[in-house]
């Protein structure tokens, strides 16, 4: 069977450059100033809400939210709101021309609630008014007749943790007949036998909290009606093509009548996936109805209540090991607190089950993951996507096991990790770059692991130090979630400047810079020749969603393919113009183009492009890449879920005050195997940014609800994220480059991986600082707030 040409191109370039050191590239792996840095720091209008200044005669859309976390809607009276000055309409579920649903994976989430509300962020009506103030004020006058229902905040009220069976209760999703959203499992080997033969068995219950994305830009959407009955929407969305689909469904329009443009996003982290669909659909409804631009702007409070969070989890883990420290088996039950709607929960649960045994050789495993609806803000996509929630318990278990076995945590891990040629728990053969061992060894070296481990064990006094390691792997891209493809278009203009288009978005993560570096490297032009167009469903090729750490590998491959084809044609032309021996001898160092053996004889890039124009050499190219299909057996949890994995090792060095329970991270070491560094600045800042976000998750972030299901910390003065003063004094950042042959120059993703193992590395460091076998087991949930850590210190009787 012959390979598609795009696969051959990617492989050809990989093998040709496999031995080339990253330092020897011209743009790949270099510190290049991002394409949008100057406009962002100089305050240019790059974000959605900025565009409001260019909009004339808009209407404003405000979402009236539920008063109860769980209630039936018996009636709705909008007459008072309609009388309010400036109000044009109050839209309810009945005003939706298409399908009243914005569920991301399954259709369980009405855009405007009709029968019942399931959490406090549910929208019951949209007020459309001449000003945002009018709309908000009128919103208070919408009167809803509710029949309050029992509010479920704890998934264990709905599911029995022993049997994992649903308990009788008042259904949140009565239309589904069950509040169990989804179940996944792994059944590999003989777990019973493994535990019977084990010398050491360790078991514990773990909890991880909800996490708010806390992106700097709250949601915004501007919809502009088009003359042909269509609509153009500028919206904060990570995935404009998914947003288009949702809006078209709500409006009952064909896809080509809905145009979604994603301006720069002030942070996404996964949070701008489904909320983007919701805000775009709301604005579009009003724009179509009133034939005027419609604007929707969220306050921070609306943002926190109105968009999904990282799923909270409760899990029970059992590990078996032999006396020599070989892992024999894993048994786990993991419950995802789903909140009110599915959102991306089915995919998050799947990623959780795939990664549920960590980057270890595991032959016997029995794992169940269940996602259970509750009346809270829905869990959705968040950087890491189910993996941090399982990496925390796995990596805590590894440290507890190591202690029971009397082994150093690093030695214990090195004995069990996945290496090249091993098979994952799913039976997938790892036939390329597994840089995990190298990453661990490098992290150990950079952090001074052994010295500190010894030194900290002897410290006296109330302020202890501790050092902890956590490792992980993270499947790149979407795996078995769906068709996995990407595409870009590259058009060289007659003056030699270049227009680059892709449906991948920039949410601040900067992945597009990696694509620019790849394009510049292959074509031989400086990055500033390239202009990046906004992701636009009517003007850029669909590149799939901007999620799952897939932009660099998937978008990079598509870029590589387009650049390669253009370069081939231009080399051919340049060779004939310059008289080079072969097209392979052509050197492009724009603005200079010359033959390798005669650098003094040159033409300019612009001349080459002009000649191409006259000689009919096409200056535009479309790059496409499709990943090999993933394999997954639902019954056994086996197959090849992802085409490649990013690996990493994190070491955290902390200080713990035994009297207050306060934890401070003093030094952080992150080593990631990302195949090849294509964007040095971006990669380093991801390593640091991911660490800080993970540290917030580990130490201070959580959502607090009252018993009625109302969120108590709805803004950033009560939802605490780390400040500059909370960040470690020192970061050691290093990359291992064990390339992947089906990726651009071997590069793998880093977006999500950079948060996955932070919390467990900090928790392991805290446990190390406490120097108590009992405390080690008690460090079983986060955030590790001072009062929680102090309660462990007290319970375990840790004394200064």
């Amino acid at each position: 069977m012959s390979k598609p040409d795009y696969v051959e191109i990617v492989e050809e370039i990989f093998y040709k450059t496999k031995e080339k050191k990253t330092e020897e590239f011209k743009y790949v792996g270099k510190d290049v100033v991002r394409w949008d840095a100057i406009s962002k720091i100089s305050g240019q209008p790059v974000y959605t809400a900025d565009l409001l200044r260019f909009i004339k005669n808009p209407v404003f859309v405000y979402s009236v939210r539920a008063k109860y976390a769980h209630a039936r809607i018996k009636g709705l009276d909008v007459s008072d709101a309609l009388k309010y000055p400036g109000v044009l309409a109050v839209l309810t579920a009945r005003d939706i021309p298409g399908i009243n649903d914005v569920g991301y994976v399954i259709p369980d989430q009405p855009l405007i609630a009709d029968r019942k509300v399931r959490f406090i962020g549910d929208t019951v009506a949209l007020v459309v008014a001449e000003s945002l103030e009018n709309a908000r004020e009128a919103g208070e006058l919408v009167s809803v007749d509710y029949e309050p229902l029992k509010v479920y905040l704890d998934p264990l009220e709905i599911i029995d943790p022993e049997t994992l069976q649903e308990k009788p209760h008042e259904l949140i999703h009565d239309e589904r007949g069950s509040d169990i959203l989804t179940r996944y499992k792994i059944r590999v080997g003989d777990v019973e036998k493994a535990f019977k033969e084990a010398a050491v068995v360790v078991e514990n219950k773990y909890e991880t909290p909800f996490q708010e994305h806390a992106y700097i830009e709250p949601e915004a959407a501007i919809a502009i009606p088009e003359a042909d009955g269509g609509v153009t929407i500028y919206a904060k969305t990570q995935c404009p093509f998914d947003t288009r689909k949702a809006v078209a469904n709500v409006l009952g329009l064909p896809f080509n009548m809905v145009r979604v443009i994603a301006p720069a996003l002030g942070g996404g982290f996964g949070g701008a996936e489904d909320v983007g669909n919701e805000i775009a659909a709301k604005a579009a409804l009003a724009a179509i109805r009133f034939k005027r631009p419609a604007v929707l702007l969220h306050t921070r409070e609306e943002s926190i209540i109105g968009h999904t969070k990282r799923h909270r989890t409760i899990s029970w883990y059992r590990h078996a090991a032999s006396r020599d420290g070989t892992l024999l088996g894993v048994e786990a039950k993991i419950i995802l607190d789903k909140g009110a709607y599915a959102s991306l929960g089915p995919f998050v649960a799947w990623r959780a089950v795939v990664h549920s045994t960590g980057p270890y050789k595991v032959r016997n495993a029995k794992v169940d993951v269940v996602a259970v609806y509750t009346n809270k803000i829905p869990g959705g996509a968040f950087r890491g996507f189910g993996n941090p929630q399982v990496t925390f318990p796995v990596e805590r278990q590894m440290d507890i096991l190591a202690e029971e076995l009397g082994m150093d945590p690093v030695e214990f891990r090195l004995k069990n990790i996945l290496r090249n040629g091993d098979r994952t728990v799913h039976g997938q053969l790892l036939d390329h770059g597994v840089g995990l061992e190298e990453a661990i060894k490098k992290a150990v070296e950079l952090s001074g692991w052994y010295e500190k481990r010894r030194l900290y064990a002897s410290l006296k006094g109330p302020v202890r130090r501790g050092i902890g390691i956590a490792i992980f792997y993270h499947g790149n891209s979407i795996g078995a979630e769906g068709a996995d493809y990407s595409s870009v278009s590259v058009i060289i203009q007659r003056d030699g400047s270049i227009v680059f288009r892709t449906g991948l978005t920039d949410m601040g993560q900067g992945a597009i810079q990696g694509l620019i570096n790849i394009l510049a490297e292959v074509l031989g032009v400086p990055p500033h020749y390239i202009k990046v167009e906004l992701a636009d469903t009517s003007a850029t090729p669909d590149a799939g969603p901007t999620v799952a750490s897939r932009s660099t590998a998937m978008g990079g491959n598509a870029t590589l393919v387009a650049a390669y084809k253009l370069r081939k044609r231009l080399d051919q032309l340049a060779a004939s113009l310059l008289g080079c021996k072969s097209p392979d001898d052509v050197v492009i160092e724009a603005p200079k183009v010359y033959c390798r053996d005669d650098p003094s004889h040159t033409i300019t890039w612009r001349e080459l492009v002009e000649q191409a124009f006259w000689k009919g050499v096409p200056l535009q190219e479309f790059g496409y890449y499709r990943a090999p299909p993933a394999e997954w057996d639902e019954e056994t949890g086996t197959g090849a879920p992802y085409f490649t994995y990013t690996y990493g090792a994190i070491v955290s060095d902390v200080e713990v005050d035994l009297e207050t329970g306060l934890v401070r991270v003093k030094e952080a070491t992150t080593v990631y195997d990302i195949g090849r560094v294509v964007n040095r600045t971006g990669a380093e800042l991801h390593a640091i940014g991911g660490y800080i976000q993970g540290m917030g998750y580990a130490l201070m972030e959580d959502l607090y609800y009252d018993s009625e299901g109302r969120l108590l910390n709805t803004n950033l003065s009560t939802y605490h994220i780390p400040t500059a003063l909370d960040t470690p004094e020192k970061f050691n950042v290093y990359f291992v480059e064990a390339g992947y042959y089906h990726a651009p120059f071997g590069a793998k993703g880093l977006g999500e991986p950079s948060i996955v193992a932070i919390a467990p590395s900090i928790a392991n460091a805290v446990a190390n600082a406490l120097r108590s076998r009992e405390a080690n087991k008690l460090v079983s949930k986060h955030p590790l707030t001072p009062d929680y850590v102090y309660s462990i210190i007290k319970k375990a009787g840790v004394k200064p």
């Binding site: 908000r136 306050t299 009297e659 401070r664 605490h720 400040t723 500059a724 003063l725």
Partner: protein, 290 residues
């Protein structure tokens, strides 16, 4: 939930005299100084005044004067000005330290000391240092001036002795060589900066006939910032030995009555009060030994 500023009448005073006159006339009003607390409180509906009386621009109440035995601070002095004042740093180092740990540069640049005290939050961070200094709150109305001890002035959460038509004009803060040298401040929050106190604590020592008199104050552990009178009583005439410090830091439990909220549990706050006091007293003991 989706906070909007309610409508109100707006008055801007050009002088203290005019402010008092307007206040007397309007009746149902709130003063706007820096607005960092007021605007949020209006949005969440804590207050629904008919009018807002803007006194933020009254330069005449923005000053720090080193006046021999005391420092006088105008009610509308911005926190950032207090932070940068060498008079405060040298003569009221506890206040300097407390303000250093407050909010962010942006907020300190508009928030005023009068607002921080007048808002009467149990977590007001300028209160513990001012209480340690036995600060006097000077108020004025068309009826004249009053001077009230800060400890009495703040009555409870958001309650003060300020009467209708009356405004805070000045804080008279007695300074002493002891408090310039022998002090310790602790603020424990949910993170290292830009945070409200879970517990805040100011401790200082003054000298009476050569022997130290200890003064202790805390916030976020009671309905209002408090002086730890039982601790002070116990420490009278004692030397700060380890065992004295140990006992004193336990006695503080009699002076506080914390609650559980989003920031911490009552139990943990009680624990922190003891730990922070012990720590602070040890620091002072160290300085006293030198």
């Amino acid at each position: 939930m989706f906070y909007k500023l309610p409508s109100f009448e707006y008055f801007k005073a050009r002088s203290v005299g005019e402010a008092l006159e307007l206040a007397g006339k309007i009746g149902d009003y709130r003063f706007l100084a820096g607005g960092t607390d007021l605007l949020v409180d209006l949005k969440i509906g804590r207050y629904k005044p008919r009018a807002i009386l803007d006194i933020g621009g009254l330069r005449e109440l923005s000053y720090i004067i080193n006046d021999g035995s005391r420092v006088r601070i105008g009610a509308l002095t911005r926190l950032e000005d207090i932070l940068r004042s060498s008079v405060v740093r040298e003569r009221l180092p506890l206040l300097h330290e407390a303000v250093y740990h407050m909010a962010s540069w942006q907020i300190r640049s508009v928030a005023t000391i009068g607002g921080n005290i007048g808002n009467a939050s149990p977590a007001a961070d300028t209160a513990p240092p001012l209480l340690v200094h036995d600060a006097i709150v000077k108020t004025r109305s068309v009826r004249g001036e009053r001077a009230v001890r800060l400890e009495e002035f703040i009555q409870g959460p958001r309650r003060t002795l300020l009467e209708p038509g009356e405004m805070i004009v000045e804080f008279e803060v007695p300074a002493s060589p002891g408090l310039e040298e022998y002090w310790a401040y602790r603020k424990f929050g949910r993170r290292s900066a830009f945070t409200l106190s879970v517990v805040g604590l100011a401790v200082g020592a003054e000298f009476l006939e050569g022997s130290p008199v200890f003064k202790v104050s805390l916030n976020s552990v009671a309905p209002k910032p408090v002086r730890a009178r039982s601790v002070e009583e116990y420490l009278k005439g004692k030397t700060l030995t380890d065992s004295v410090i140990e006992t004193a830091s336990k006695i503080v439990q009699q002076d506080i009555s914390p609650i559980t909220d989003v920031r911490a549990t009552a139990e943990y706050r009680r624990h922190l009060a003891t730990v922070l006091l012990k720590d602070a007293l040890k620091e002072i003991a160290g300085r006293l030994r030198r």
